[in-house]
Amino acid sequence: MTTQTIDPSLRHQRREQALMTLLAAPAVLVIVALVVIPVGWLAAQSIYDNGFTLEHYRRIFTEEVYWRSFALTFRIALMVTLLTLLLGYPVAYAAAHAKRPWNVLILACVMLPFWTSVLVRAYAWLVLLQRTGVANQLLERFGLITEPLAMVHNELGTVIATVHILLPFMVLPLYSTMQKIPRELMLAGASLGGGPLYSFLRIFLPLSLPGVVAGLTLVFVLTLGFYITPELLGGGRTVMISMVVSRNVELYAQWGAASAVGVVLLVCVLAIFAAVGRIIPLDKMLGQK
């Protein structure tokens, strides 16, 4: 008798679990087909070329060219990430606190360039920043400079345009986190005698941290793979790792030469995720609760 009875709530829970698995199946299949298999194939190619070989990895770890590009890529990614945070936090804060229609307007200003092609935006920055560009002409007219500044065809130009392109990826997670922070908490802080700055630092800032970490991670990882922007605005000297990948396709007879670089970059990114995940759990980072 007793063995036959199953707690109805448990049965319900099981059924729900089965349903969820079923619902998730298409998504899992898509990820396996479009991400897991190609990435696995990529990794396999980097070590297999008519037999097992580590030649492509040996090259990466012994030739200075790769080390320099990896270092440059991570340095640019770090700069871009910090700059987007500095620029994006106040914007997200304003958007989260402004009343309609201002908050919509602020978000629209952030989103509008997001819908413009990356290529178009890179050229737009070229027009603005080059020697005979709008920025230099204005500065010269106001007598602030006598010689045009070299703002593009270098690392600076690359960073400026990349920050612009990736800003929405910082603002949006920040905004969604900030929006969920109850206003009453700040009022409570004030009623207990905390000044605006103190309340912000003790209440709002810590509560917005999941959004900050999500934004930082998104922007950092996206910058690592940038190609068109450094290619157009870097003046040829700013050789980021994606450009090395494309160069290796041209230079070497095997795909492995290019895919090994991709695998090393992927491993670096996963290592960063793992390190960050130790400080902040992954589910929190992706904005759950």
Partner: protein, 351 residues
């Protein structure tokens, strides 16, 4: 009566036969791949359409800016869909080395016989010529006498002040560096790579931009970002046509070509070879420069009188212009030494 009936039957039969032949011929087709844009349009008018008509074949077209990786993956897949590719000559040669490109039987390409030996290889037939030339801004150098005329001038930052740009690629750039260092245009190969990079180190601090696309080189010169540039002749002449105050010299230009090659295991190999021969026909070749600023690869095109005297003077492969230029050796660039030099480029750029 019987005779005329017979005649009618015969003519009907002949007509039927011709129609059959026609449809059999129309069924012959190839897939031709080039780089797209104005260049592919010009070829279509000058070479592809007339060739298709003359041979009675259908030429399907595709275009891709960077054909090399696709050539490789098509052949690796075992079922290539492309037949003929128009690509920078070094890729045809490299393809030959790696078994990606078919070896050509020149007895089936009689039109190529008139071309100098350096214009062809076992795996390629030159298709058109362009040149990496020294271009400059006429506002900065209005006087022809005091304008830069050689790579030595380009390297002389004291005598010729101004901002400079070179291509972010070793091809033609190493040649220019060696000419700047005093090597004669016809004594360049095999390139002294060490000497070339040393000379490049010298000019490096004065290079504002290392350009990557032809469009970029034109934009830099047009917007006044730089005063002197090594660029492809067609890019600068296009600016001139739009009224920009820029010009260039063929002196010490590096004459380069794209070539036609046939993918290994191409689905329509015999038709592809027929097309290769037709594509370098002197008249088709002579028609090309009427539509774009590239020179014919078959020197016989200059004897057809299709190209006007004035136009001949503007073309990179015209005998008078070719004389003052260096002819790029793609054989050297695909040799181990050439490939090593290409790999060394990034190291040079990063420092």
């Amino acid at each position: 009566m019987a005779k005329s009936l017979n005649f009618r039957t015969a003519s009907v039969a002949a007509g039927f036969f011709l129609a059959m032949l026609g449809s059999a011929m129309a069924a012959e087709q190839i897939m031709f791949v080039s780089q797209g844009g104005a260049y592919q349009k010009a070829q279509t008018i000058a070479i592809l359409d007339p060739s298709a008509k003359k041979l009675g074949i259908t030429i399907n077209q595709d275009s891709v800016p960077d054909a090399w990786p696709i050539m490789r993956s098509q052949v690796a897949s075992g079922k290539p869909t492309w037949d003929v590719v128009d690509v920078a000559t070094n890729f045809c040669l490299r393809g030959g080395e790696q078994g990606i490109v078919e070896k050509l039987d020149f007895s089936k390409i009689p039109n190529a016989a008139a071309m100098p030996a350096e214009y062809r290889s076992d795996y390629s037939v030159a298709y058109e010529f362009y040149s990496s030339v020294l271009g400059y801004n006429l506002k900065k150098f209005p006087d022809a006498a005091s304008a830069p005329k050689s790579w030595a001038d380009f390297w002389d930052v004291k005598k010729f002040s101004g901002r400079r740009s070179l291509r972010n690629h070793p091809l033609a750039t190493l040649e220019a560096a060696l000419m700047a260092d005093g090597v004669a245009p016809d004594k360049l190969y095999p390139l002294d790579v060490e000497r070339a990079f040393k000379k490049l180190e010298e000019i490096k601090p004065n290079i504002t931009v290392w350009w990557t696309s032809g469009a970029q080189s034109a934009q830099l010169l047009n917007d006044g970002e730089v005063d002197m540039v090594m660029a492809w002749n067609g890019r600068i002449s296009a600016l001139t046509k739009e009224g920009a105050k820029v010009t260039y010299t063929y002196n010490q230009g590096i004459l380069q070509s794209t070539s036609l090659c046939v993918l290994k295991g191409a689905p329509n190999l015999p038709t592809a070879i027929k097309f290769l021969n037709e594509a370098v026909d002197p008249v088709h070749q002579a028609n090309l420069p009427l539509h774009i600023d590239y020179g014919p690869a078959n020197p016989k095109a200059y004897d057809t009188k299709v190209i006007s005297e004035a136009r001949v003077k503007e073309l990179p492969s015209a005998p008078e212009n070719a004389k003052v230029q260096a002819l790029m050796s793609y054989a050297w660039w695909t040799s181990p030494a050439g490939e090593a030099a290409e790999k060394r480029w990034l190291q040079f750029m990063q420092k």
